[in-house]
Structure formats: C-alpha cells, structure tokens
Symmetry: C2
C-alpha cells in the first residue's frame, strides 16, 4: 500500500517541508508506545508541532506516560486514507519521548496545543497538577504519498 521514503540520521532529524505541513495541519494522529512488556499501546491523540518536535497532553498516570517512562521510544503517525490507494498519504515519526511535568515549558506548549484545538481548554484542560505533556523528538521519519 504505497512506497515509503525514509529519512534517517543519528540524533534528531529535520522534518521535510511536506512532512512538517502534514503533521502541523492534521487534526488527529495516532501514537504507539511499548512499555517494558513490549506490548504496543496505540491510541489517537491531538498533537501540536512546535520547533520540529511533537507534543501531546496526557493524564499524569495514563498508560502512555507509564510506557514512556519505562521505554522512551515513541512513534507518532499521521495518515490519510483514500479508497483510491494511489491517494494514500502519511508520515510516521519515530523518536524519543520525554515527559514535561510542569513549569514554563509546560505552559508554553499548552498554549500551542490550545491555539490549535479551541475545544481543548474546556473539554480536556491540561493542569500542572494532574496532566503532563509528552515531547517527541524525531529520530526517524518515513513518509508515503507526499511527493
């Protein structure tokens, strides 16, 4: 289902213009974490792209956070399905995750998330007491259908 293009480098990678645009505009993405057990956990999330890194909010004790603390490898994928498979498009970002618990970084990223999703403050407010922000630094990027 489509050919993939790969961008791999040691350390942080730079997103291509098209991959960054798709990640910035997508209203939903899916993330996978594996934890210590190696059982993948895969759920939809509402993310924001800030300075080449991806961010999402989470309850402090959620499975995503527990998995990331046990194994920081996190993958976020944005894709568009089309019944005409020539139109399939997507970006998979693999990288290292870090949990931001509070402080100026928490509040700065929260503002970016709230700007993208007007429903966020009322429907799933992120507070420094019971929420965290997960930061994903891309190390490998795969795209399909973007050329």
């Amino acid at each position: 289902m489509g050919k993939a293009r790969t961008s791999r480098r040691r350390g942080k990678v730079r997103l291509s213009r098209k991959a960054a645009a798709m990640l910035r505009l997508a209203r939903v993405s899916r993330i996978a974490t594996a934890g210590a057990s190696g059982t993948p956990h895969l759920v939809p999330v509402c993310h924001a792209l800030v300075g080449g890194k991806l961010y999402l909010g989470s309850g402090k004790r959620g499975r995503k956070v527990r998995n990331v603390l046990a194994n920081p490898r996190l993958t976020l994928t944005v894709d568009e399905y089309s019944e005409d498979w020539a139109g399939l498009r997507g970006v998979m970002v693999q990288g290292r995750a870090r949990v931001i618990e509070r402080g100026p970084s928490f509040r700065r990223i929260r503002r970016a998330i709230y700007r993208k999703y007007v429903q966020y403050p009322t429907d799933a407010a992120l507070s420094e007491s019971d929420s965290v922000i997960i930061e994903l630094t891309p190390t490998h990027v795969f795209t399909w259908g973007l050329d």
Copy 2:
C-alpha cells in the same frame, strides 16, 4: 479524551457486538508492532475481521512481519475523530500475532480481504510467493465512545 472500557481475560477474548461492528466496517485501521528493539512501528492497514480475529496482508519481508517474528505482540486500533470530542469513538485490540505464509488458510483469508476491498486484487494483490497474512488473536480489548 474519552473514557475507556476494558475487556480483559486470559487468552483469547470475545469482541463485544459494538466493537466487532466497528472493526468489521472500518475501512482503515492502524497497527503497531515493537520488534526486538522496542521501537514502535505504526502504520495504517486495511484489515478484515473473520471469526473474531483480525487479518491483514503484508509483503513477506516488510517491517511489520519482521517485528512480529521477533515479538508477536501486535495492537490494532480503529478510531473515528470528531471535532466534538463527545463523539470520539474507537476500539484498541491488543493480542498475539501469527504469520500465515501460504496454503488453504492464506487463500481463505485472502478471499475475505478481497471481498471487503474491491481494489485489493488489482492494486496490492496478495500472492503466496511474496506476501503473507498476519493474524491477530485478541487478548485485550479497550473501547471508548461505543456506549
């Protein structure tokens, strides 16, 4: 973003009627595998639900297959995004994967996949020489928004 309901039992689990309906009808799902390295691989797939198990085709040497051979834990999630977050719905199925390389099971499942996706035989034909079918037996099922 939504409360989850959990169905956990030892061994294979039975899908609820609503979870099965969502999995059967969804045109696209996402799967995550973790491999030996613990780095999640997360891609969209076109799946079929047959007899309470989930199936998808893959190139024989694809990353999905290599990961499953190293670590059979596989997770498949179907979800629907809605800007009204009260309308978010989804099913996450965690389970054990097995690779079907050829033979009567391969051909029977291929027929089910081809029936669901009319474009499959022409756009991504599954042959016993270079494709495999991955079978997912559910062990844990989480749903949100289905009640």
